[in-house]
């Protein structure tokens, strides 16, 4: 059996063009003395030939225009930058000077205000990485611990701890995958209107948000994420959140919602 396996590997390497001249000669001699192996090799060679012929008949794709037409160009549109004075609501610079403030002082104040109160940046999450209603999903103060889960699955492990507030909940998800993979967080849209996901273990981390029932990220190894769930008003318990790796669901757990 082992001998056959080794011979089969050689057949594959021969058809992949990986054999050295010496290996090829030795392989051909082996086939000469082994009609069964020779037959198998010929069949494999024919399989390669059929694949090659079929692949050669494939046409090139030429419909990029149709794809581009269906993209939402506003998704990553940069916000127009406001000048310091506009940001401060002082677009009438003449009036500003009339009251006796120096230009240097204005700049200093503007710089301080912009750094201290950057619009849209809350809880350290940069607004430019977010689409959707950032203000809603970042309102996570005064949360209360309500439940936690820990379990393992064949392809990795996940632990979920939830903290629920009035309309926003935050869950910590840790998981380990054997390799870099696509991880999808699915949620029930009838109960959760918006969800956001931020990595806490792999900076620099972007912030992904979706109101379409799933968030998809690329992750690998052991990672921890904060999952923000904006609950629909009056959402009934239980909530269902599914975490899946590639196309196979590795776990499914229900988060119980308790009133504050």
């Amino acid at each position: 059996m082992k001998q056959h396996d080794e011979l089969y590997i050689l057949m594959n390497r021969a058809l992949d063009g990986e054999l050295t001249e010496e290996e090829r000669k030795e392989f051909e001699q082996t086939l000469e003395h082994n009609p069964e192996a020779k037959k198998e090799y010929e069949e494999l060679k024919k399989t390669f030939h059929l694949l090659e012929k079929d692949a050669a008949a494939l046409d090139e794709a030429d419909f990029a225009g149709r794809i581009i037409e269906n993209l939402d160009p506003s998704l990553y549109n940069p916000q127009p930058k406001k000048s310091f004075l506009e940001a401060l609501g002082l677009s009438n610079i003449g009036g500003f000077f009339k009251y006796g403030f120096g230009f240097a002082l204005g700049l200093a104040v503007g710089f301080f205000v912009l750094n201290a109160f950057q619009p849209g940046v809350q809880n350290g999450i940069p607004a430019q990485k977010v689409y959707g209603t950032m203000a809603e999903i970042s309102a996570t103060e005064a949360l209360a611990d309500i439940d936690s889960y820990e379990f393992t699955a064949r392809d990795g492990s996940i632990s979920i701890t939830t903290k629920l507030a009035d309309t926003v909940s935050i869950a910590e998800i840790s998981f380990a995958t054997n390799a870099q993979n696509t991880v999808t967080i699915g949620f029930d849209q009838s109960a959760i209107s918006l969800a956001g996901l931020k990595s806490v273990t792999a900076p620099p981390a972007g912030f992904a948000a979706s109101d379409e029932g799933e968030i998809m990220i690329t992750a690998g190894g052991r990672e921890t994420y904060l999952l923000y769930l904006k609950l629909q008003r009056g959402a009934a318990s239980p909530l269902s959140v599914t975490v899946s790796v590639a196309d196979s669901v590795i776990s499914r757990r229900t988060l119980q919602v308790k009133p504050d």
Binding site: A61, F63, A64, L71, A179, D247
Partner: protein, 179 residues
């Protein structure tokens, strides 16, 4: 290896430059289309799936990790979309995989179509993992290294699984009378 040019285009897209994403679509539409074509067995479905893959990639682009290769990330999205579709869709009894309008006699045209249908039937009998390996190696022409990058597997593992896939495909083709 990370493709710096692709990463630059991704960054430009995230900065609001949709034309940068157009370049990525033009660059990778064919491998994604071939993948979807061989997974779905139908050119119209494959076009829709290819479109879905790029739209999904565009919408999730802000989750892309620049440590990794954009094409590998995109191809994995394509694999997930195609396999999910395949497992969802009821296989059509009449396969209608369109072939390029090349010069050739109607007989040659017919032979190509026959071969294509037969190969599609055989590929569909492989399990998903083996089917995608055969597509990547024999239809896309990826190297073992490239396949390893996409699947996050060592070259050795890729080879051993592909050898198994070829063995099974050979047997299926024999059973279908193709060899």
């Amino acid at each position: 290896m990370i493709d710096q040019e692709d990463n630059k285009l991704v960054r430009q897209t995230l900065d609001g430059n949709t034309a940068a994403f157009t370049t990525l679509v033009e660059k990778y539409q064919t491998p994604i289309y071939h993948l979807e074509l061989k997974l779905s067995g139908d050119s119209d479905d494959a076009k829709d799936l290819t479109q879905d893959v790029f739209i999904k990639a565009y919408e999730k682009l802000n989750t892309f990790d620049f440590k990794y290769k954009f094409f590998s990330w995109l191809y994995r999205i394509g694999m997930n979309e195609g396999i999910n579709f395949k497992n969802r869709a009821k296989r059509k009894t009449e396969l209608d995989q369109r072939l390029p309008a090349e010069e050739g006699s109607p007989v040659e045209e017919l032979e190509r179509k026959e071969l294509s249908n037969m190969m599609q039937l055989c590929l569909d009998k492989l399990k998903d993992e083996y089917q995608t390996l055969i597509i990547m190696k024999h239809y896309e022409g990826f190297s073992y290294e490239e396949i390893g990058e996409i699947l996050e597997l060592s070259e050795k593992t890729v080879k051993s699984r592909l050898y198994m896939a070829r063995q099974q495909l050979k047997k299926i083709i024999l059973d279908e009378g193709g060899v």
